[in-house]
């Protein structure tokens, strides 16, 4: 399998000024993330709020400019691509936003919202545009009549479908989903997830799926990356990672998933304390302040993402000599 997207040592540091005359420091929202996403797969990023997963998704499309590192899309380095070629590349890379309320212009009808990407990138006749709009509305499970509606007239699930339709109308190859279902009711979540799977099969899409909901991730993804404080802690195939998590942080996350069977209760690993601030991340391994297996070298040496077995990687000193 060939990677459609590859990122190398991607960093995004925000300058932070403490107090009026305080020293300048940086908040490390992304701190050296490397990743390869294969054509046709669904790669999920999980992590708590503030782990940098949304920053990662937006940086891939250069909605946020990376501080350093590089992004390759279909083999081309797009890290320093100029504004115009980058703009044109948006026909291949798209994003669906988390908030279905905020991501649609309240003054625009759904039809106009869906026409915008077409009219921006292609010169089509009015009838071609109208046809594409009604087709995409049907694809995402709405009807052409919805084109005349305003966002406030639709439900959350319908709005999110519009968001998906808007991203897909350009027929992209790669789509970032930034928590696409976390603002929706559970029953609607299932519908939207099924829709996403269906679309992926039909249009042979590659997904980067960002979520904090482990059950959603387990359901939809082929591979998972676990992020903590701007760093990738573990990467692996979904089933393997969920059944046998390697990194202590992943273990804690997985143990927090409620078990449907009360007989099969398993030990819950409860993490102490809060996520440290990315403005002032811990030295060494960023997880050492909360890790149950903390060792002396964790306080000073930053663990690198290392290969454990086929397709499985983790950044933890526990696996150094195995």
């Amino acid at each position: 399998m060939t990677p459609i997207l590859k990122i190398k040592d991607l960093k995004k540091h925000y300058p932070v000024k403490k107090g009026l005359f305080g020293a300048r420091s940086t908040a490390k929202s992304l701190d050296g993330v490397s990743l390869e996403i294969n054509k046709g797969e669904t790669f999920a990023i999980v992590g708590e709020s503030g782990s940098g997963k949304t920053t990662l998704g937006k940086t891939l499309l250069r909605l946020i400019e990376p501080t350093s590192g590089s992004i390759f899309f279909e083999g081309t380095d797009i890290t320093h691509l100029g504004a115009e070629p980058m703009r044109q590349l948006k026909t291949d890379m798209q994003i669906v936003f988390q908030d279905p309320y905020g991501s649609l212009d309240p003054k625009w009808t759904i039809g106009r919202t869906l026409e915008e990407p077409l009219r921006t990138h292609f010169s089509l006749t009015d009838s071609e545009v109208a046809e594409k709009v009604s087709r995409i509305l049907e694809v995402v499970g709405l009807t052409p009549r919805h084109a005349l509606r305003y966002p406030h007239e639709l439900s959350g699930g319908q709005r999110q479908r519009v968001g998906i339709a808007r991203a897909l109308i350009l027929e992209p190859k790669f789509v970032v989903f930034d928590e696409p279902v976390s603002a929706l009711d559970v029953s609607i979540q299932a519908q939207v997830l099924t829709l996403l799977q269906d679309l992926q099969k039909r249009l042979s899409l590659t997904y980067l799926f960002i979520s904090h909901d482990l059950s959603v991730v387990r359901y939809i993804s082929d591979r998972v990356g676990v992020m903590y404080l701007g760093k990738m802690m573990e990467v692996g195939p979904t089933e393997a990672l969920f059944s046998e998590p390697l990194h202590p942080y992943t273990q804690a996350l997985i143990s927090a998933i409620p078990q449907p069977d009360p007989e099969q209760r398993r030990e819950r690993i409860v993490l102490e304390g809060e996520v440290p601030s990315p403005r002032n991340p811990p030295s060494g391994c960023v997880f050492h302040t909360r890790c149950p297996h903390v060792m002396p070298q964790c306080l000073t040496i930053v663990p690198e993402l290392q290969r454990i077995s086929e397709g499985r990687y983790t950044a933890c000193h526990l696996y150094n000599n195995k």
């Binding site: 909605l63 948006k90 798209q94 003054k107 406030h152």
Partner: protein, 291 residues
């Protein structure tokens, strides 16, 4: 324009007009506009028709609002004066909008050094009391209607720029703007098609209120002789002629133009306040709709 759009406009309009004071304000404003348009047909005399034999008459049946020291009919002069007022309002606020709104939008949207320079210039203009600045501008452009129009317009620019700047800074952080960027929409299109329409409501309120203050500033300039040239009928200028006669008891020369100015401004302020309440983002499409 489709059905649901019309529905939402009708609902908005209904909400605005449901307040009696707003309706009253709207009626006042429309009344003056109508009177201004119809002045040549409804005014009983010409605005500059001098009849010395009728001079300084108190209000009576043939001269409802009395006559001035040249025997000119006050009512007719007020009606023709409304034309000057409506004209100065439209032109000066037109100038203010067409300069101030793009400047504020550019400063807010692109920010950086350019934005900083624009907004600091606006702050400088805003630091002067508006009447003093208008006087200085009108005096340097030269007295006359054009000078007054330009002066009133320029004085109102910073308010529009600052309002649009604030709106743009807020709107550009909204997710649908980022969505536009993600779709590859050009900056120009984002600015004109997304930012501007979403800033429309507060702009309308500001335009209404600015029209009121434009009437006041124009009248003030004319009062001190920097506005229209005599003998043009203009409310501020009429008060200026009449002020020497207050002491000798010819009150109608000042009171009626004064009422005209006050009622126009009052109308605009009532209307503006009402629009502000109706457009309040917290009341928008949420309270009334899903009640």
């Amino acid at each position: 324009m489709n059905k649901s759009r019309w529905k939402s406009i009708r609902e908005q309009a209904g909400k605005i007009l449901a307040r009696k004071l707003v309706l009253f304000g709207l009626i006042l404003v429309l009344l003056w506009v109508l009177l201004a348009l119809l002045a040549p047909w409804i005014a009983p005399y010409g605005p500059n028709e001098i009849r010395t034999e009728d001079k300084l008459q108190s209000p009576n049946l043939s001269h409802w609002f009395g006559t001035d020291n040249f025997g000119r009919d006050i009512l007719s002069r007020i009606l023709y004066g409304a034309r000057v007022t409506v004209w100065t309002g439209i032109v000066s606020i037109g100038i203010a909008c067409s300069v101030g709104i793009p400047l504020g939008a550019i400063a807010g949207f692109f920010g950086g050094k350019l934005g900083n320079v624009i907004m600091r210039v606006m702050d400088t203009l805003l630091a002067f009391p508006s009447l003093i600045l208008a006087m200085a501008l009108a005096a340097s452009i030269g007295p006359g209607l054009t000078g007054a129009l330009l002066a009133v317009g320029i004085v109102a620019i910073p308010e529009f720029a600052r309002l649009m700047y604030g709106q743009t800074v807020v709107i550009k952080e909204k997710e649908f703007i980022e969505a536009g960027r993600a779709l590859g929409v050009r900056n120009k299109a984002i600015l004109f098609k997304h930012v501007l329409p979403n800033a429309f409501a507060p702009l309308i309120v500001q335009i209404t209120l600015a029209l009121g203050s434009a009437v006041l500033t124009t009248s003030s300039l004319s009062f001190i002789g920097l506005g229209v040239r005599p003998p043009t009928a203009e409310w501020g200028a009429m008060i200026s002629y009449g002020r020497g006669y207050i002491i000798s008891g010819e009150w109608w020369m000042t009171v009626f133009p004064g009422i005209a100015i006050a009622s126009t401004i009052f109308g605009f302020i009532l209307l503006g306040d009402g629009l502000r309440d109706a457009f309040d983002p917290h009341g928008r499409n949420s309270k009334t709709k899903f009640k």
